[in-house]
């Protein structure tokens, strides 16, 4: 009974969650290991080779993959952190006094405007385009802005 008291004291109302996680871990662990125990084991070289549609595997599996995935991960970290900062405000906003609501509302409004600018920028530079190169403005590459020469425009006729 002493042990339970300590658990209760340490985890408080989170104790049932701990219990649930324990149960979930046991169930999930059992599912994963049971077939390992119950099933037959007849290993052959062919069976244990990597499955690549029936042909012999070519090359190494851990190979380079598009940088876009990395970019998405970075963007997620940035934007998710920004959302995380909002959560603590969310919980106090509704019950607060009107002065606090207006003050914090303006502050969060500025914050969200920055957020929107960030999102628009990410979309604008093509960080989320999957099939194409990010767009740069090619005209800017020229040393001085000149009109692209056009051969035989329609104006001639």
């Amino acid at each position: 009974m002493l042990g339970r008291g300590i658990f209760q004291a340490v985890f408080g109302e989170f104790l049932p969650i701990l219990l649930l996680m324990l149960v979930a871990a046991v169930v999930a662990g059992a599912m994963v290991t049971l077939s390992w125990v119950l099933g037959p084991k007849k290993d052959t070289p062919y069976k244990s080779s990597t499955y690549e549609c029936g042909v012999t595997p070519v090359g190494n599996a851990i190979e380079r993959f598009p940088i876009k995935f990395y970019l998405v991960a970075i963007l997620f970290v940035l934007f998710d952190i920004e959302v995380v900062f909002l959560w603590s405000w969310i919980t106090v906003f509704k019950g607060a006094t009107i002065q606090y609501q207006v003050f914090s509302g303006v502050a969060v409004g500025i914050y969200l405007v920055l957020w929107i600018i960030g999102d628009a920028y990410v979309i604008k530079v093509g960080a989320l385009e999957w099939d194409e190169e990010p767009q740069v403005a090619p005209e800017k590459l020229l040393p001085t802005p000149v009109e692209a020469p056009t051969i035989a425009a329609g104006s001639h006729s």
Binding site: A120, A137, K140, L141, L142, P143, P145
Partner: protein, 507 residues
């Protein structure tokens, strides 16, 4: 529930320069987002205007009293304001010559302007706070923007290399800094430098605070390129696009020095531990920077080593101010920072002329014949390099003289002599650059140069005015500096820093 108490009072006046710079960056980004087609003139214009406004607001605050706001997060004192002014000015001058350079190198990256503005804002935050958390925040803002900027030239592998090196070593140093802050917090239960100084002053040095202070010094020393932590400097300076190098050399150094001064003030009572250490670091920084610069054959790399050496000179000034408080002030250091920013940005601005049609060579033989192609810029280069050497009537001379004098006054003659010797050594490689720019061999194929644009000439003129003006009006400038007290903020009962440093532990 009553959360009314949570509404803070916002001291917009103290926050104005920083806010203006950040908002200018955001506006610049929006402009870049909306109409990027033809050129970046509008972005540059808005950025310069914002910097002007920020500088004006800083100038307006110069006379005011020093105070703290945001619960000790923001400090508003004269030292910080002067350093902020230097950073704002450096950023503006960098912007002046960036546009032709970016065009010449075919870098369609107008995000340079917002990123540089945010970086400047980070630097401004670093020097205008006595709260270690804010210092760290500012440092990260400064550094992360610089990591991106260093790798801005995407088709050059050396630029990528420089960005990656800077990022890896920089984050390593940030980790050191953060760890050190954590240690110091563990010892003093505070992140505010005033409080830290108070607590450390009351007790004797403990391992925790010593290790913490050492780690913070490592982190800041990395940013300042002090000698054991200087290895990244030449590579990064060489690889990064030249306008970024100029920006980095000026803003990042000023910011790191400001933070270092504030931190050293806070750990003043531990000076039996750190003073000898920093003494040797200053010696090593000056010597290694200059000796290594002798054997370089790349202008940017040479200037990179020279910036290390200059960090050493600056450190001498700082140490002098700390070892003889009351008699020696930080004025000399602040003055030297101003002149250093002007001359180093000017030198890099001229070097940026070697970019021509996507190609940029900065080796000594790549600047041959600069004199014929761009006489005004080449002439300015001579002045900047003379100032870096320390030849009279330039501000570099007066800066070195003042630091030399300060070191003597503070009873650090060895440092003073080493400074003089190192200045003499440095003459060799600076003259090498001048020679490369002016002497053309018969029959040699002259390298191509970009055409010096009006804005570059203007940038050179501004830097020239800075170098010569600071030299000619050194007296009034020094008298007007008034950074003598980096002292305790109003309202925090801290022992007067001038009485903390009663010992003189050096030589």
């Amino acid at each position: 529930m009553n959360v009314n108490a949570l509404i803070p009072t916002v001291d917009w006046r103290a926050l104005a320069p920083f806010t203006i710079v950040v908002c200018t960056g955001i506006v610049a980004l929006i402009i870049e987002m909306l109409r990027p087609r033809r050129n970046n003139n509008l972005v540059v214009g808005v950025s310069l205007f914002g910097l002007l406004v920020a500088g004006w607001s800083l100038f307006g605050m110069l006379g005011g009293p020093s105070d703290e706001s945001f619960a000790g997060m923001i400090l508003n004192d004269r030292f910080g304001q002067i350093l902020q002014l230097v950073m704002v000015g450096s950023c503006a001058v960098c912007f002046l010559f960036s546009e032709p350079y970016l065009r010449e190198k075919r870098i369609p990256f107008a995000e340079f302007y917002p990123l540089a503005l945010w970086s400047t804002a980070g630097g401004m935050l670093m020097v205008s706070s006595k709260h270690l958390l804010m210092v760290f925040l500012g440092l990260e803002l400064l550094s992360i923007s610089l990591y991106c900027l260093a790798g801005m030239s995407r088709y050059e592998s050396k630029s990528e290399e420089s960005a990656l090196k800077y990022f890896l070593l920089g984050s390593f140093a940030s980790a050191f800094l953060l760890m050190g802050i954590a240690f110091i917090y563990g010892e003093t239960a505070s992140l505010h430098l005033g409080r830290i100084s108070e607590v450390l002053g009351a007790a004797s040095a403990s391992p925790l605070s010593t290790i913490g202070a050492a780690m913070v010094l490592v982190g800041l020393g990395f940013k300042l390129a002090l000698v054991p932590f200087h290895q990244w400097t030449p590579d990064v300076y060489q690889g990064a696009p030249t306008n970024v190098t100029a920006f980095m050399a000026a803003v990042s150094k000023v910011a790191a020095l400001g933070a270092l001064v504030r931190f050293l003030w806070a750990i003043g009572t531990l000076d039996t531990v750190w003073f000898p250490l920093m003494w040797w670091v200053a010696v090593a920084t000056m010597t290694v920077g200059n000796l290594a610069a002798l054997v370089q054959n790349d202008v940017k790399r040479t200037l990179g080593y020279s910036s290390i050496a200059h960090a050493g000179y600056l450190l001498v000034g700082v140490l002098a101010a700390f070892s003889a408080p009351g008699r020696v002030s930080l004025d000399a250091t602040a003055f030297y920072l101003i002149s250093y920013a002007a001359m180093t940005i000017g030198a890099f601005a001229v070097i940026s002329l070697t970019a021509s049609g996507q190609h940029e060579g900065t080796r000594f033989y790549d600047v041959r014949g600069l004199w014929k192609r761009a006489p005004w810029a080449a002439g300015c280069l001579v002045v900047f390099l003379c100032s870096l050497i320390g030849i009279p009537i330039t501000s570099g001379f007066f800066g070195k003289l003042l630091i030399f004098q300060a070191a003597f006054d503070a009873g650090l003659p060895a440092l003073a002599v080493l400074l003089a010797v190192n200045s003499a050594i440095s003459t060799y490689y600076y003259l090498g650059i001048i020679q490369a720019a002016f002497v053309t061999e018969e029959g040699a194929v002259a390298p191509r140069f970009g055409k010096p644009s009006a804005s570059l000439n203007l940038a050179c003129a501004v830097c020239l005015a800075g170098v010569l003006g600071a030299g000619l009006f050194a007296g009034p400038l020094i008298r007007g500096m008034g950074t003598a007290e980096v002292g305790p903020p109003v309202g925090v009962p801290v022992q007067d820093p001038l009485t903390i440093h009663t010992k003189n532990t050096s030589d």
